[in-house]
Symmetry: C2
Subunit: 349 residues, 2 copies
């Protein structure tokens, strides 16, 4: 079904075989109008015979469109970012665009290297979770771009896509109230993280709207790790902590650690202590009990970012900030101790 010579067929080979000019071949393949039936047939046949595949390099060279998009995320091995990448991949594929993926490891130097690679590859645009605090000049990025993730927050006047933390917190607080936990303890990440402030602010807003004094809430903070969550939970358990005990944890890894600490203290989750996570990492489905959590829309973020990018490449530049809604994933770590609760919570997965 193709030449044995090893050389790839070019548009000229196709043209010769079809007995037309390369212009005509290009028109047929480009789906242009005004082609005779006969010419179209002959070209299509010749394409099949030669096994011709257009050379994207040449196309890009001439048309200025490489058909490539770049994405720079912290780590493809991190399940959240893998979801983002996957969403971007799938959306790009719909438009016959291929994705160049890079992992920055939250390292500004690696990021710079990757951005250079993207520029050299002449990608049509880039999706970036920014690491560097300031880029030389955003306008001279050298290509259209979309920022993703909460670190994009630092750059006010750019197009960016992220998850809607305010909505996520509302979702979490609502379910906690509904289940009889109107004043949960809070387990937060390090102060340095941007998302932390947003999380805390949203909790406060929610409390005030419900006439609860936010200062009443127990708060612990730690690193976004299993170990961090475990130690924070130990500290929490040592405090005066009355009533229906529940914790709203700002990160799933920490929540998993907290769950371990509960067990180590001889307590049960969710019977003694309810835990609500935030992220939606896969491991939450395999813990015991399964972690009830709020899932960030990773895949949607990837999809939307590509769409924004495509729009931006085609038309004018927008400078919008897009927040995508999160989703509650109910598993077994949240007890229902509300007045209306049937009998007792079942510790399902």
């Amino acid at each position: 079904m193709n030449n044995t010579t090893g050389r790839r067929a070019t548009i000229i080979d196709v043209a010769k075989r079809a007995g037309v000019s390369k212009s005509t071949v290009a028109r047929v393949l480009g789906g242009s109008a005004n082609i005779s039936e006969e010419a179209r047939d002959r070209v299509l046949k010749a394409v099949a015979v030669t096994g011709y595949e257009p050379n994207q390099l040449a196309v890009g060279m001439r048309s200025g469109r490489s058909g490539l998009l770049g994405i720079v995320i912290p780590d493809i091995t991190n399940p959240f970012w893998a979801e983002v990448a996957r969403g971007a991949q799938d959306r790009a594929a719909k438009d016959d665009i291929s994705l160049l993926i890079f992992s920055s490891d939250w390292d500004a130097h690696k990021e710079a290297t990757h951005l250079r690679a993207l520029r050299r590859a002449r990608v049509d645009g880039a999706i970036i979770n920014p690491v560097a605090d300031n880029f030389d000049d955003l306008d001279r990025f050298g290509m259209p771009f979309v920022f993703i993730g909460s670190s994009a927050e630092r750059f006010p006047d750019t197009l960016s896509v992220g998850s809607d933390i305010a909505q996520a917190v509302r979702l979490g607080m609502d379910i906690l109230v509904e289940r009889g936990h109107p004043a949960p303890a809070l387990m937060l990440g390090p102060r340095s993280r941007l998302a932390r402030a947003r999380f805390l602010r949203s909790v406060h807003e929610h409390c005030i709207a419900r006439d609860v004094d936010p200062e009443v809430l127990l708060v612990e903070e730690s690193d976004y790790t299993v170990e961090g969550g475990r130690s924070a939970m130990v500290r929490l358990l040592a405090k005066q902590w009355r009533g229906n005990r529940a914790v709203f944890v700002a990160n799933d890894l920490m929540a998993l650690g907290a769950m371990i600490a509960v067990r180590e203290a001889g307590l049960r989750c969710p019977e003694d202590i309810s835990i609500l996570g935030f992220d939606g990492i896969p491991a939450g489905a395999f813990s015991w009990p399964g972690l009830t959590t709020i899932e960030k829309p990773g895949r949607q973020i990837g999809i939307r970012a590509v769409e924004c990018l495509i729009d931006q490449i085609a038309g004018g530049r927008q400078r919008e900030r897009i927040y995508l809604p999160c989703r509650l994933v109910e598993r077994g770590s949240l007890a229902d101790v509300s007045a209306s609760a049937p009998v007792r919570v079942a510790a399902g997965r």
Copy 2:
């Protein structure tokens, strides 16, 4: 630090600015010998001033090297494959090569589409976890390639990189014996999977070497899912099963499910039943107890695959099959009931 016109600087802009010919610029940038100090300085200065970045498209067009490698894996969202991709990414970056990543979802049609995209992009080579049972003709793949993963097993005469299942099984059986479980039950995947036969064969070999009748071993099989592992464990518990009870599970997800079933049966892991997994998925670190497992060398596979590919692009084509060793990850799911065991196993993570 660059032109404000928006147009990207070309080698000609650099040449003009440096007052030399583009040939000289190319030689300087290509690191060729026989350049005067003066010319080199002027060129380097001009490059810095113009912000010149070589156009990879043009380079690829002319030199036949696109500087791109493709990788087609089942799903970037799957932690194992993400590891593979990450390894490939890092290794490729060392040679200034960018990676085009695609997810096939174990779908032959998607795979074909992705391979076409790779051909169009004129990648210098491809790393593929093959899905299709037979390709039209391996020699006419249209580019150098390396197969990865156990499904590569189906194609005898190709270069491939995968994990050493025989060594992994030896590792597992050895630790089981050492801990006082000379005849563990086996939990296998579906018969359709290639890895299953290799796993079972290796267990048999190990048994025979140790003078154990392999027929004595309890065997259950199921899907590679949490639910599958759970139901298989239920069936296993219903059997006559004496002595120090341990299960060697051929997949971590199943192992996690088995662990849940143990707990649901009112038994404890590892005190009543020991579980040894196989894969090394991250979720195994967060279960309770932590899952002791054998980790496949995902990252190494990616690294090695890229190295093979680079070799193959440069030199002759090899048709070797490379097996990379797995690693035991000790967490808390394996009890030590051997005679030499200190007192009792601690249920650590």
